[in-house]
Each structure stands twice: as structure tokens, then as C-alpha cells.
């Protein structure tokens, strides 16, 4: 039996839209943070990838906004707090980045995010009793599935890096 | 018997005899009667019961140093008094009153050639119920100095009030007995009567005036870690800060004390701590932080003999180097040095004012001699230097804590000011305060911090300048009083001589110093430092005449006027 997904309770379409918006908004913030990290650590390629991912998630968020038409959507989304461990499904793992990470790594991270989001909406579909919520959640499932496929296609462009990817012949520098 | 303008007496005793109490009472009574006075002391290393000598000088006019030797010694006993060495040297013209059962005269006293008279002080004390030997000694001292017994009695009443009437009565009785026992003694000199008092007078120590100067300057928070000989500053501040709506807080160590006052100052409260050499060494890192983050704080260093633990109860002038040069990196800051018990008030207050105006740490280099000496002084005039800090009360958007501007002082946002949020940092920073390792910001901020000190107008307070002539004596701190009296005698003998005593040691004042040296051909530097720190400081920063000599030695013995006179005499006309 599918568990009710961990996270804010969804009792209505309005709830679902708020949650969905929040998921995208958090993803935007997270990818932006990672892009800033990469910029600070001079990994330009990854900076661009994360900025692109942030932009993409931003577009998803705007979509949901248009879909909703609710002027209070943003506030509702902001006030949600029930994510386990404080991380919403599409937030890339902050602990999984590395200053020398490659595009393959970033896409793997993104893949995890999209899969988690897909799982989340799937379990909403499975567990909700509200037919409208079910219908809309199913649409989100399709959306996320498309995102997952997109990431898989992108991954074909980037081979898995060899074991030496984190090698840095310079030793660490003490700063303070 | 000749009238003298100055008379010096020492009361020596050990093991709880109460020699210091006797000296304090004598001083207070004499000064209440209108004389000026100065008292220091010398003690053994024990916490209680050790050997002690109260060293008192009374005079008809203001004095800032001790005489070259004592005219009168009253020895309750001489146990371990050899330890005092030349500190209790008596003149050959002098009079020594000695208890025959009090042990052998110390060598320096025995060979002085002074008259020695025996009075059985302890026996007399024992003959009075609850009689104490120090009161007998006090009675003898009253007879020899001319201080009125009734004035002494009122001081005793005041000081022993909490010990009860029994103790007071016994003390009066012993005082009278001592006076009677000395009735036939001829001191060989009489202290000239005091002029009628026209000024308000204080009886106060340098450490106390330091505390008062701090509060007058605006200090309302002090963090304390006790250390000899600075603890009295903190002890005086504890209740008095509280009465002024401020607070003193004891820290776990000097590292905490200095950081606490930096934190308090960051929050907007003028703050101070007091320590001695070892404590200042610990505080140096944090002083660098206050310099870099431009946070005003005042640190009083009551110098004692060093290095390391040194001689905690003795004075020296050997913390000049660490105060001026001790910070790592280039860290311009302010160092001031009071010149007397009275000057501790002005100089500390000025130090607070400078710290706040320039947003910089200020070190006040006092020393054990003036810190712990008790003096009768004319009430110092009120001084207008109250600390005022340039603050950003209503920071505009884009506020920059360390903005470059003419004069180098940038307004400081105090927590609570909306829009002024910044992070104070010891890391090199840009105008906003954000850490940077860039060349231009580092240079710009170094320039700013130097400019704010150099652009400031310090006025005449930077030094004491007296006299004229081609010969000048440069000194600082507590030696100013010694040199002044020595030069009075030199001038009285017909020789012109100048006194130059800088009060502001950092930032250096080349223009003013050169002006003070205009026409000087011979310069004598006088200081209490084994390594001649002040002489090397003068050489490093100022243009000196070709002919320079130094009179320098370390503690524990004070430098005397006659040493200065002798050095000048040796130099010839």
C-alpha cells in the first residue's frame, strides 16, 4: 500500500498547487545556491548548468502560477513547512556537491530530484480521495516524467567521468 | 632648629605591626592640617604579616616624588628589613628611632651615620590594654614631624570607627604614650607650617584618579581581571561604575577581559580595562582586532618591573616597547602616559576621549609608583574631554562602515540602528567591511587608519614643556616629578635647563617635538628601563641633537633627584 507522502497535507487542488509551486520554487533556490557555489569555486561549466536548471525550474513555477490563478498562491506556498528534514523533493542534496564535480554529477543530482518529485506526485495520486486532486496530480506526474526523460537524454551527452575526476594536485589552502 | 619645606619619614615594622596603617593615618592627618604629602610603601612578598615600610614625604607645597633619602626612621622592628635595601636609606643628618628588642639595624641604616635613639615601642604597646605598636610609632612620628595629635586622633576615630570604641580608646592611649616617649627627642629639623588652605584638596592614589578619569571620560563598562598593581583601579570602579549606571564585570582571564570590552564597545558603550605588563601581553592580539575593526577601547597598564612575572610590587618603565610596537602588522593606535597621581585623572580621561574620537584602542601607561602612591593634591580642575564617538544614527542605504573620507574617521553604526548592519572583522576588509585580500583595499584601509590619527589635533596636552636653555632633559611618566624637582635645584644653582615630558607617546609628534628641541644642544634622557626603551624610541622617531646622554636603570629602586642632578653636573657647563 502506498504511503501518504511525507510533507504538507494536501486536501484540495489549492493545496496541491501550493505544494507544487513550492517544490519548484525551492528547486530554483537550491540550483541557484549551487550555481553560486560553483561560481565561487571557479567551476564555470557547472555554474552554467545549475543556472540553466534553475531557469528551467523557474519556468515550471511560472506555469503552476498561471495554472492556479490564485493571487494568494505564493503566500500559501511560502507558509508550508512540513517537509521531512526540511528538504522538499526537488531540492538537490547540498551534501552531494563537489567543487570539481562534472556535468554528469550535476545531471545525476537533477535526476534524483526529478525522480523524487515524480514519486511524490505518484503517491498523491495513489492516496488522495479527492478526484480533482487526483486528476491534477496525475498531470504533474506526467510533467515530472517528461523532466526525468529529458535528464536521461542530456546524460547521454556526458559520459560517466573516470575515477580521477576529484584529483587536484594543489593541496588545500588554509585561509584564516 | 631649621624649618624645612619637606620632611621624609619611614615607619618600618613586620608581622602585623601595622606600619602601613600608621603611615596612612599620619599622611591623612598632615594633609588635613594643610600640608601636601606623598606616601608610597615597600613590602615583603607575604600576603600578610610580612615586613613593611610606610614611606611618607610631607611638604609645604605640591610634590610628585620622594626625597633622595629619609630624614626620620621609626623602626617598630627590623625583621627582614634588609630586604628593603636602599629604599629606606636615611641621611647622615637623620634620626632613627629603634625598638631595642626589634632586631639589628639593617645595614643601610647602620652605616648611614644617623643618630639612633632607642624607645621600647612594643613594650609600651603591651603596657596599654589592646595597645598596638603602630600607634606608639605614630605618636613618636607626630612628635618628630609636628603633626598635631588631635588631628591624628580624629583621623583614628574615622578609620577605626567600625572596630568599636574599645579599639579607638586604646589607639588614643597608645598615640599619647608614643608622643610622650618621644617628648625629649630632637629631630634636628622642623617641618615649616602649612600655608592656610585656599584650595580644595584630595587625598587620593593614582589608581583612584585613573578610575575617576575613566568615568569622567564616559566609560560605563569595565571588564576586570585582577593583577598587581592595577587591581585597585578595578576595585574603585566596581561600586562607582554601578553608581553611574554602568557595570564592572570580572572576567576569567585577560583574554576574556579585553574581548569583553571590545564587544561592549561594539554595542556602543565606552569601555575600559586595567592590567599590568603580563596582562597587556595577553591582550595584544585583541588590541590588534580593535585596531583593525576600528573599535574604541581603553587599556590602562600600570607598569611593574619585568620581564615576565618580574617584581609585581615595584615600578619600572619597560612596557613602552610592547605598548608602542607590540601589535603584529602595522597597527597605529594611541598611547598616553600620565605623569603624576594627579595627572592620572586628566590623562585617563583624555585617553577615553581620544579612543572614542578616533575609534582606536588607547593604552594608558601608568606605573606602580604613581598607581599606588597616595598623594594630597589640589582638587584637579574639571576637564572638558568627554568621549564622543561618531555614529551613524540613521544609516542610509548602502551604508559603509569603513567609508573612506577626509580625516579618516567613518561613522560607526551601533546595533539597533536599522540599515547599519555590518560585520566587524579583523580580516582586512573593504569600505563595507567585507573581507578582501586585494591590494587597493588593504592599502586604503591602512592609510585610513593612519590618517585618522595623524590628521587629529592633539593640542598642547601632548607634552609638558618647562624652562629654557641649551640643555634639556627628556623623561616621561612618574619620572617627570623627579626630574622637575631636580631641575628646580639645577636652575636655583644658576643653570638653565628645559624639561620635556611627552604625555602622548603614540602617534609620535615630530613637528611639536622638533619645536620643543629648537635650540637644544645637549639632551639627557632619564628613564627607568634596563634597555633604555625610551631613548631608543626617541632615536627612532625624532631628530635629536648630536650630544645625547642617558640616565637609565631598571627598578626596583626609584631614580632620585640627586642622580639627575649629578648626571647634569657631570656633563659640565
Amino acid at each position: 500500500m502506498t504511503q501518504v507522502p511525507a510533507g504538507p497535507s494536501i486536501a484540495s487542488v489549492a493545496d496541491l498547487l501550493a505544494v507544487a509551486y513550492r517544490i519548484e520554487a525551492d528547486a530554483v533556490q537550491r540550483y541557484t545556491l549551487l550555481a553560486d557555489q560553483m561560481q565561487a569555486h571557479n567551476n564555470a561549466e557547472l555554474m552554467h548548468i545549475f543556472r540553466d536548471l534553475a531557469r528551467a525550474e523557474g519556468l515550471h513555477a511560472e506555469e503552476i502560477c498561471r495554472l492556479s490563478g490564485d493571487p494568494a498562491l505564493l503566500e500559501r506556498a511560502q507558509s508550508l513547512t512540513d517537509w521531512p528534514e526540511g528538504e522538499s523533493p526537488e531540492e538537490a542534496d547540498l551534501g552531494a556537491t563537489h567543487y570539481l564535480m562534472t556535468p554528469w554529477h550535476a545531471l545525476q543530482l537533477s535526476l534524483q530530484c526529478e525522480k523524487r518529485a515524480l514519486e511524490f506526485f505518484s503517491s498523491v495520486v495513489e492516496t488522495t480521495r479527492d478526484p480533482k486532486v487526483k486528476e491534477m496530480a496525475a498531470e504533474f506526474v506526467e510533467e515530472e516524467a517528461e523532466h526525468v526523460n529529458l535528464v536521461y537524454r542530456l546524460l547521454r551527452k556526458y559520459p560517466r567521468p573516470t575515477g580521477s575526476w576529484p584529483d587536484d594536485s594543489d593541496t588545500a589552502r588554509a585561509q584564516d | 632648629m631649621p624649618d624645612v619645606d619637606s620632611l621624609s619619614l619611614a615607619i618600618v615594622g613586620s608581622g602585623g605591626a601595622g606600619a602601613l596603617t600608621a603611615g596612612n593615618i599620619l599622611l591623612e592627618a598632615a594633609c588635613a592640617a594643610g600640608w601636601y604629602g606623598l606616601m608610597t610603601r615597600t613590602v615583603g612578598p607575604q600576603i600578610r604579616g610580612g615586613e613593611a615600610a610606610a614611606l611618607v614625604r610631607l611638604a609645604t607645597g605640591p610634590i610628585n616624588c620622594m626625597a633622595d633619602r629619609f630624614d626620620l626612621l621609626v623602626g617598630i622592628d627590623w625583621l627582614n628589613a634588609n630586604r628593603f635595601g636602599a629604599e629606606i636609606e636615611v641621611g647622615s643628618h637623620g634620626l632613627v628611632v629603634s625598638d631595642p628588642r626589634g632586631g639589628d639595624l639593617p645595614a643601610v641604616v647602620a652605616r648611614a651615620g644617623a643618630r639612633v635613639v632607642e624607645i621600647p615601642i612594643k613594650e609600651l604597646a603591651n603596657s596599654i590594654p589592646d595597645g598596638r605598636p603602630n600607634m606608639i610609632a605614630l605618636g613618636i612620628a607626630a612628635r618628630l614631624t609636628g603633626v598635631d595629635v588631635s588631628v591624628l586622633s580624629s583621623v583614628i576615630d574615622k578609620r577605626l570607627a567600625e572596630k568599636g570604641q574599645g579599639a579607638i580608646d586604646a589607639s588614643h592611649a597608645a598615640l599619647k604614650a608614643g608622643f610622650a616617649a618621644a617628648a625629649d627627642l630632637d629631630a634636628g629639623m622642623t617641618l615649616a607650617p602649612p600655608a592656610p588652605r585656599t584650595t580644595r584638596r584630595w587625598l587620593v592614589s593614582g589608581n583612584e584618579t585613573t578610575g575617576l578619569g575613566a568615568i569622567r571620560g564616559g566609560v560605563r563598562f569595565a571588564a576586570a581581571y585582577p593583577i598587581t598593581p592595577a587591581s585597585e583601579i578595578l576595585e574603585w570602579l566596581a561600586p562607582n561604575l554601578c553608581r553611574m549606571g554602568g557595570t564592572l564585570f570580572q572576567a576569567e582571564d585577560e583574554l576574556a577581559a579585553i574581548n569583553m570590552i571590545i564587544g561592549a564597545s561594539f554595542g556602543g558603550t565606552p569601555s575600559l580595562t586595567a592590567t599590568s605588563g603580563p596582562g597587556l601581553s595577553l591582550m595584544i592580539e585583541a588590541l590588534g582586532l580593535a585596531t583593525a575593526a576600528e573599535i574604541p577601547v581603553v587599556i590602562v597598564d600600570v607598569m611593574r618591573a619585568g620581564p615576565s612575572t618580574g617584581i609585581p610590587t615595584k615600578s619600572e618603565q619597560a612596557d613602552l616597547n610592547i605598548a608602542v610596537y607590540g601589535f603584529h602588522g602595522d597597527a597605529p593606535h594611541v598611547v598616553v602616559a600620565p605623569q603624576s597621581v594627579e595627572d592620572c585623572l586628566f590623562t585617563t580621561q583624555w585617553g577615553v576621549y581620544l579612543a572614542e574620537a578616533l575609534q582606536v584602542p588607547t593604552i594608558v601607561l601608568s606605573d606602580q609608583f604613581i598607581g599606588q602612591a597616595v598623594a594630597a593634591i589640589d582638587r584637579p580642575a574639571d576637564v572638558a574631554f568627554i568621549g564622543h564617538r561618531s555614529t551613524a544614527l540613521d544609516p542610509a542605504a548602502g551604508y559603509k562602515r569603513y567609508a573612506l573620507a577626509a580625516g579618516g574617521v567613518s561613522p560607526m553604526a551601533i546595533p539597533g540602528a536599522r540599515g547599519g548592519q555590518y560585520t566587524a572583522d579583523g580580516l582586512t576588509h573593504n569600505e563595507r567591511g567585507t573581507p578582501t585580500s586585494g591590494e587597493s583595499d588593504h592599502r586604503a584601509q591602512l592609510d585610513k587608519r593612519r590618517e585618522k590619527l595623524e590628521a587629529f589635533s592633539y593640542g598642547d596636552h601632548w607634552a609638558t614643556l618647562e624652562g629654557r636653555g641649551e640643555l634639556a632633559v627628556v623623561t616621561w611618566g612618574s619620572l617627570t616629578g623627579v626630574v622637575r624637582e631636580a631641575l628646580d635645584r639645577v636652575r636655583a644653582a644658576g643653570c638653565d635647563v628645559r624639561l620635556i615630558a611627552p604625555r602622548l607617546l603614540l602617534p609620535v609628534q615630530p613637528k611639536q617635538f622638533n619645536a620643543a628641541l629648537n635650540g637644544v644642544k645637549r639632551l639627557l634622557v632619564v628613564e627607568q628601563s634596563h634597555g633604555a626603551q625610551f631613548y631608543r624610541y626617541l632615536r627612532a622617531h625624532y631628530d635629536l641633537p648630536a650630544d645625547v646622554r642617558t640616565l637609565h636603570r631598571p627598578g626596583p629602586l626609584p631614580i632620585h633627584r640627586q642622580e639627575v642632578e649629578h648626571a647634569i653636573a657631570q656633563w659640565g657647563p
Binding site: 565561487a40 551534501g95 | 584638596r201 569622567r216 553608581r243 571590545i262 560585520t423
Partner: protein
């Protein structure tokens, strides 16, 4: 009058983003401190703290860089002395919310003495130590919480010294609130910070925050942390025993004490300056 609470006046719309400054952190990607920063901003938002009445004080180390990344007043002091700075500040400005940020090196080694006395004094402030069991900023030396067999350049083969228990030390020294959290659970950490700041007196929160560069093994912490099996106690001895017998990964609020926070004796209204000199008058 009840225990001192700094004035926490909630603002109407407080979002964590309001508390982020525009300075980009220099922490390594993957560092636990990014999560801790999130927890700080979430906690401040939850409390509705006025940025201009909040001060984050730190020492030296990676964790100590945090004040500049937060929109509030900050003090990045010298190594080990953050608690002393904060003490002077809070004593003279009890109206401010003071949070102290440190690491296991800055806080437990050079800062150890000040740690004891801050707990003892119980002045109202919150002390957050980001413990990564290593000196990160200076390239990987052992800290007082490092395991004895951890190999480093300064201690080849490990120090052979047992780490001590900072939480127990805090309890023994008188801290009024003791908690342990994990950076990888930023919401939980934020909630604990909120309670810590609200709790009167000295609140101590140790945040296990992995160092991705020098302790990659700490990635395993994510699986190792678990909620403490019992709710917080108000008995310090009980709390101490629990902590000394746990595996070091119990997270949650472990102790909530009831000591009154310290307030300095400050005279009511100030007297005339001239009255201070009366004792000197002859």
C-alpha cells in the same frame, strides 16, 4: 520580572531570504555549514527577529565565517574569543538578541576556558557550535572532538587522545539548555535554534556539520543520526548520564534547565558625577 528575553518583536512578513546577506559563502560545496546557514535564516524568520537588533558573534574557522552571510549585525572576532565578545556585548546591550557561532576547534580548544565560564554565568545568549571533528580552515588538524585514531599531518596515526564530551561539559558548567542537531536536517535544526533562542539563559546547541573536504567519512553521519529516545529532561545529572552513554548521534533537545539567567547589578539612576569625588576630599 520574569527571565530576560531580548525583545523579539515579530515582523509581519519574515522570510528566511530576508536574513540572507548578499555575500557569497566561501565554504566548500558539500559543506554542512550551508545547511546551518539555512537553519539560522529559517530560525530568525520564525522568530521574526529585527535584523538590526540581532548580532551574530564568531571566532575564527570555517563556521565562524557565518556572520557575514546573514543580514544582521555581526562580529568576526579572533580565534577562541567569541563568547567573551558576546558577553561584553550582551551585558551592556541586553536588548539585543545575541547568537554566538563557533566550531569545535575555535570553541573547544582555544575557546575552552571561555566556554566553561559562559555556561557558568548563564547570561542570556545562544551558542551554536558547528562540530565537524576537525580543524577545517587550517587544513585538517585534529580537534578536541576528533577520534583518537584519525590520521593527520600533525598527528600521524592519530593523536591517541580521547575526545571529550562538550555537551556534558556544558551541563556540568551550568548551561541552561543543551541540544545536539545534525546540519543535514535543517528544519529540525532551525526548530531547535528557535527554542534555544527563546529559552532564557545560556543555550548551547552543538550541530554536527560534516566537513566534506577533510572528513569525507562524515557523509555517513546522515545515516547515523537518530532522534534521542527520550524527551529533554530538566535534571542536568540525568542529562549528563544520558549523553555520556549515548553513541554521539542522539539529536534533539537533551536538556532544558530552569536557572535564572544572569543580570548584572546596574545602579538604578545614575548619581551626580561630583559625588564620586567626595571620598577623596580632605
Amino acid at each position: 520580572m520574569g527571565p530576560v528575553m531580548s525583545s523579539i518583536e515579530p515582523r509581519l512578513t519574515c522570510k528566511p531570504a530576508d536574513y540572507k546577506s548578499d555575500i557569497n559563502p566561501i565554504w566548500c560545496p558539500g559543506c554542512g555549514d550551508y545547511h546551518v546557514l539555512m537553519s539560522f535564516t529559517r530560525a530568525f524568520a520564525q522568530l521574526g527577529l529585527a535584523p538590526e537588533k540581532t548580532v551574530v558573534v564568531s571566532g575564527i574557522g570555517c563556521s565562524s565565517r557565518i556572520p557575514a552571510y546573514i543580514n544582521c549585525y555581526g562580529f568576526h572576532g579572533v580565534h577562541g574569543r567569541a563568547l567573551a565578545l558576546a558577553t561584553g556585548l550582551k551585558l551592556t546591550r541586553p536588548d539585543l538578541t545575541v547568537v554566538v557561532a563557533s566550531g569545535d576547534g575555535d570553541g573547544y580548544s582555544i575557546g575552552g576556558n571561555h566556554f566553561l565560564h559562559a555556561c557558568r554565568r548563564n547570561i542570556d545568549m545562544t551558542y551554536v557550535v558547528m562540530d565537524n571533528r576537525v580543524y577545517g580552515m587550517t587544513k585538517g588538524q585534529p580537534s578536541p572532538t576528533t577520534e583518537p585514531d584519525f590520521d593527520t599531518a600533525l598527528s600521524p596515526g592519530g593523536t591517541g587522545l580521547s575526545p571529550f564530551h562538550p555537551l556534558v561539559i556544558a551541563l556540568a558548567s551550568g548551561a541552561n539548555f543543551v541540544a545536539r542537531t545534525f546540519s543535514g536536517r535543517p528544519n529540525e535544526t532551525a526548530d531547535v535554534l528557535v527554542e534555544a533562542i527563546r529559552h532564557p539563559g545560556f543555550s548551547f546547541v552543538e550541530v554536527l556539520s560534516p566537513c566534506v573536504t577533510f572528513r569525507p567519512d562524515e557523509r555517513a553521519w546522515k545515516q547515523q543520526v537518530h532522534p534521542a529516545p527520550v524527551a529533554a529532561t530538566n535534571d542536568p545529572a540525568k542529562a549528563a548520564r544520558r549523553i555520556m552513554t549515548d553513541d554521539g548521534f542522539n539529536i534533539g533537545i537533551l536538556y532544558r534547565g530552569e536557572r535564572r539567567p544572569y543580570r548584572p547589578k546596574i545602579g538604578g539612576s545614575s548619581v551626580e558625577l561630583a559625588s564620586l569625588e567626595q571620598e577623596f576630599e580632605l
